[in-house]
Point group: C2
Amino acid sequence: MSSATATDTPAAEANAFPLLIKQLLLTPLAVRPQQEIVYGDKVRFDYRTLQTRIGQLAGLLTSLGVKRGDTVAVMDWDSNRYLESYFAVPMIGAVLMMVNIRLAPEQIAYMLNHSGARVLLANREFLPVLEAIDEQLPDLRTRILLADEVGPLPTGFVTEYEAGLREATPITCFPDFDENTRATTFYTTGTTGLPKGVYFSHRQLVLHSLAAMAALGSASSQGRLHRDDVYMPITPMFHVHAWGMPYVATLLGIKQVYPGRYLPGKLLALIAREKVTFSHCVPTILHMLLGDATAADTDLRSWKVIIGGAALPRALAQQALARGIDIFGGYGMSETCPLLTIAQIDAHALDDPDEELSLRTKAGIPVPLVDLRIVDEDMNDVAHDGVATGEVVARTPWLTQGYLHNPDASTALWAGGYLHTGDIGNIDGGGYLRVADRIKDVIKTGGEWISSLALEDIIALHPAVNEVAVIGISDTKWGERPLPLVVRQPGSDVTEAEIIELVAARSRSGDISRYAIPDRVSFVDSLERTSVGKINKKKLRGLHDPEVAAGGPGSHEADHPTHRGTSAAHLQRR
Amino acid sequence: MSSATATDTPAAEANAFPLLIKQLLLTPLAVRPQQEIVYGDKVRFDYRTLQTRIGQLAGLLTSLGVKRGDTVAVMDWDSNRYLESYFAVPMIGAVLMMVNIRLAPEQIAYMLNHSGARVLLANREFLPVLEAIDEQLPDLRTRILLADEVGPLPTGFVTEYEAGLREATPITCFPDFDENTRATTFYTTGTTGLPKGVYFSHRQLVLHSLAAMAALGSASSQGRLHRDDVYMPITPMFHVHAWGMPYVATLLGIKQVYPGRYLPGKLLALIAREKVTFSHCVPTILHMLLGDATAADTDLRSWKVIIGGAALPRALAQQALARGIDIFGGYGMSETCPLLTIAQIDAHALDDPDEELSLRTKAGIPVPLVDLRIVDEDMNDVAHDGVATGEVVARTPWLTQGYLHNPDASTALWAGGYLHTGDIGNIDGGGYLRVADRIKDVIKTGGEWISSLALEDIIALHPAVNEVAVIGISDTKWGERPLPLVVRQPGSDVTEAEIIELVAARSRSGDISRYAIPDRVSFVDSLERTSVGKINKKKLRGLHDPEVAAGGPGSHEADHPTHRGTSAAHLQRR
C-alpha cells in the first residue's frame, strides 16, 4: 500500500530523536550561556555553570550507584539545587521524586517507601522529620545533605551536596534512551486517603514545556512570557514541578530566581532586587504578599502572575490589577503535569474592564494539544453555553498514565479514555473554561447542585469579609445545606443577617439559585488549610458538621462514589 | 531496578496520545470556531466549516479508494483547498504530496511517478501540463479538478472538488494511529540533478508546529506571532508546506488568508483589505512587492514578515523597516520541515539601529529542541566567535529521515548522525547564526573561501545597483575568481571601476578579504532564477564561465564532492 519501504530510511537509527529532558538545555546553552540563575541572597551563577553542575550532580549520583529506573527523592525549598535535580536525575535515566515537605512525617515515610526511593537529597531543616521516621526507611540509606551553610555532616549522610559536586567526576555527555522513560514522580496532596503517586515521562515533560511556552508566548499581542522575562516560582518546586515552569524558563533561557522558603517580605524583596517579571502562585499566597507590610513600597507593575490551584477570586484580581500586576488564571492539577488551560485576554476585552476581569478570573482556554471536555455522568458533552455544568475531563500527551501501584484508582481516573479531573465546570461559546468546584465540594440541596465557590465569590465581595469558605452540612430534609464560614475583617461587626441578605439579593437578580441562600452563617477566627495552602474543606466539615464529626454517613465520603445519581466510577471522589 | 512495573499502567492503552495532525485542530475549534479562512475574493468561511470540509474531503478520498499509506498529490496555487488537503489527507493516514507546479512537465511527471501518487488534485490551470505528460502517468488515473469557476469536467477527471465535497459522506471521527506515520512528502527544488523526495511524519509536523509557535510567540516582549494576528503565506503552499505556517496558524486559531497565485498588486490589496499582519517570503518577492506601483498606498505598518530561502540583504531590510514592516530572518530548508532558526531582536538592540539591523538580517537563533552546530570537515565544532566558518548541521525531531528511494543520498545527508545542510555559516557568542553561503556557491580563491553572499551584500548597497549575483569563475592561477553580475538601476551609469573600488574600500577596512576584490564586473539586464524565485547560480555559471559553458571540470560540480580538501561525503553538493 505505502509506496515507501524500509529502504527509504537507511539513516533512521542515526537520526532518531527521542524527546528527552536534556534537550530543553540545547537552545539556552547555545544562545544565553551568560544568563543568570539566582538562589536567595548568596548564590548566583550562569547557565554554563548550571550545565557544569548538572553534569557534576549526575556524576555524583552515578558514583553512588544510581542507575536507570532508580528513584531519587528530594526534600528542599526552592533552590538552584532543586533545579539541578530537575535535570540531572532524569538525564541519567533515574526518576526524580519531589517530596511534599509540608506533609506529616508518617505521610512522607509512606511516600518514600511507596515510590521505592533509593537516594534522598534532604535540606538540613528536615533532619528532625527524617529522625522521626528513620526506622521506617530501612532501604533509604544513601542520603545527601542540602545545606545553605557549611556545617557538620549528620550521621547517616554520605556527603554534603556542594562537596559531593566538587569531588564528582562530571558527566558531560548524556545518552539517548526511550522518551517514555519515567522522569519524575510525586504524590497528590488530597485532603483524604493515602497520598497517590503520579508520574511523568521525558516525552511528557518536553511536550508540556513546548506547549506551555507556545501558549504563554502567543497569549496576546503583548505576549505573556518571552525571552526578556525574569522568572521566580511561588508555587513550590515539590508541587507538580512548580507547574513545570522551571523547565519552561530554562527552555526560554531566561533569568531564574529561586527564593528558598516562602516568606512574603523576602519574596517581595527578590521581586524588586532581581526585577522578577513572571511568577505563579495560589490565591492565598498572593493575598499574603499583597497584604505584607513591604508590599506598598514594592513596584509590581512589571510583574505577571498566573494564579492556579484554586479559582482566582474577582476581588483579589481587582486588588492585583490596581497594583499594576498582569494577573490571570490557569488550570491544572497534579495528575495533569499540570497545565491544561491558561487565561487569555481577547483584544476586544481590553476596552471593557468588567469583561477583562471576567476573562482573567476564568480558568482560560485549552493550551495546544489539550482535548478538554465537560461531560455528564454518561460521558456526553454538555452544551458550551457558559451555564451547563459537568465534569472536566481531558486528553493530552502529558497526563499521568495512572497512580503508582494503584490500578483501581488508575482505572477510575481514566474511565472512558479521558482523565477525570474531579472538578465540575462549564465552557462558554469562546471556549473559556470556568471551574465551578470540586465535585466533592458541590453542595447538593433540594435536588440542585450548588457550587460552594460561587457562593464564596458572592460573600467575599462584602467589604467586611476577610475570607470565606462554604461547606455543605448534612440536612435530613434537604440532603445538604450550605454553611458559610466567615473570617471577618479586623474590627468589623458584619452580621449573619447581612451575609444572608447579600446572597438573597444576588439570588433575586438571578445570579445564583435560591437554594444557595444560607440559613445561617458561622463566624470563625481562621480557616483550616492543607499543606499546600488550600482551604481544607474536609477538615472544616469535620469541625462544623455534627454528622461528620459523629462519624455518620457523611464522614466517609472520600471513599465512596458521590450519591444522588452519580454512580459512575469516574465521579468517585479522589 | 525500576520500582514501577506494568501494573502501574492499567489504562496505558486507553490514554496513549500519539501526536497526530488532527490534534492541531483541537484548540482552534474549541476556542475560535468563528474565526475566518479567506481565499482570494470569493471564498470566506469559518473554522467550523473548515472542519466540515476536511471531513468531506476525507470522505471523498476514502470513497475513491484512498487508504492508509497511499499518496495523494496536489497541484494548486495557495487556496483553502490546499489547507483542507493539509489536514484531510494525513488525517486518513494517507500522504500529502505537494507538487512544485513551477517545475518543467517532465520533472513533475518524474516526481508523481517516483512518489507513487495514486490520486491527484489539480487546478484547471495545470491541465496543459497534465496533458503533456499524460502518457507518463499510467497509474495516476484518479484525478479531482480544482476550479475557481464552474465549468465542464475535463476528460480523465472523476469529479470537481466542490461537487465531490457536497456529495461525499463526511468523516467526522478520525482514528488514532502511529504518530510516525508519514504525513507529507515533496521534492527538493535543487538547481541540479533529479528532484529528491523528502518526507515528514505526523509527529514531526506536530512538533514543528509547537516549536514554531513557541519560538515565534516568545521572540520578544512585543511577541512575533500571537492569537490576534492575521496570516497570509507568500511562500507557496507547495514549497515546504509554506514553511509549515498554515499548520501553526491553524493551531493558533487565527484568521488565514490564501491569495491564490502571487501577483504583487493582489497580494498588497489582500494585506490591506484583510488586515494581514503576518507573512513569510523570499527576499525576491518582498523586493517585488515593495516595488509595485500600489505599494506606496498600502499601509504596511502592522505587517510582520519572516524572510527565508535566502539571506535577508541589509538594503532590503532597511527598505522594509522604513515602511514600518517588522522584518526578520529565518533559516531552514526542504529537508528540515523547514524551521531551524528565527531571528530574535534582543531588547538592548532596539536602542541601536545598526545592531538591530544586524540581528534582523542574521538567520537567528535555534528554535526549541534544535541542536545546531557549525562543523569542520571532521565534524569538529568550530568556535562560536562570529568569524570561524563551517558547515551548518542539525539534529531536531522534525528533519526528513532521508530522501525517498535514494539510500545513498540519504546516507550522505545524515553522515555522522547530523543532517548536513550544505550551507556554510558562522555562529557568534550570542548563538546567532549567519549563513554565509551554500557550500557550492562559495568561491575558493587564493587558498581562501570567499562568500559570494557577503560580496553581494556589499555591492547591493551601491545606490545604482538594482540586483547583484556573484559567481565563481574558473581561473587557472587562483582556482576561482569572483565575478559580480550587476543589474543597474534604470538610468544609472555606474561603472565597473566604481564597483571594484566599493569592494576594495571595504576590504581595506577589514570587512572582507582582499581576495574578494573582483578583477572585473559584468553588467546584465536580469538574473536567471529557479522555479521558486531564487537566483540560479548554476545557470549563471553556465552562461558566464567559459569553462563551464564548454563542459569543463567545473560543469559537473553538483555531482561531486567539493574539491580543495573537502573530501568528506557530508560536504557533497546537493
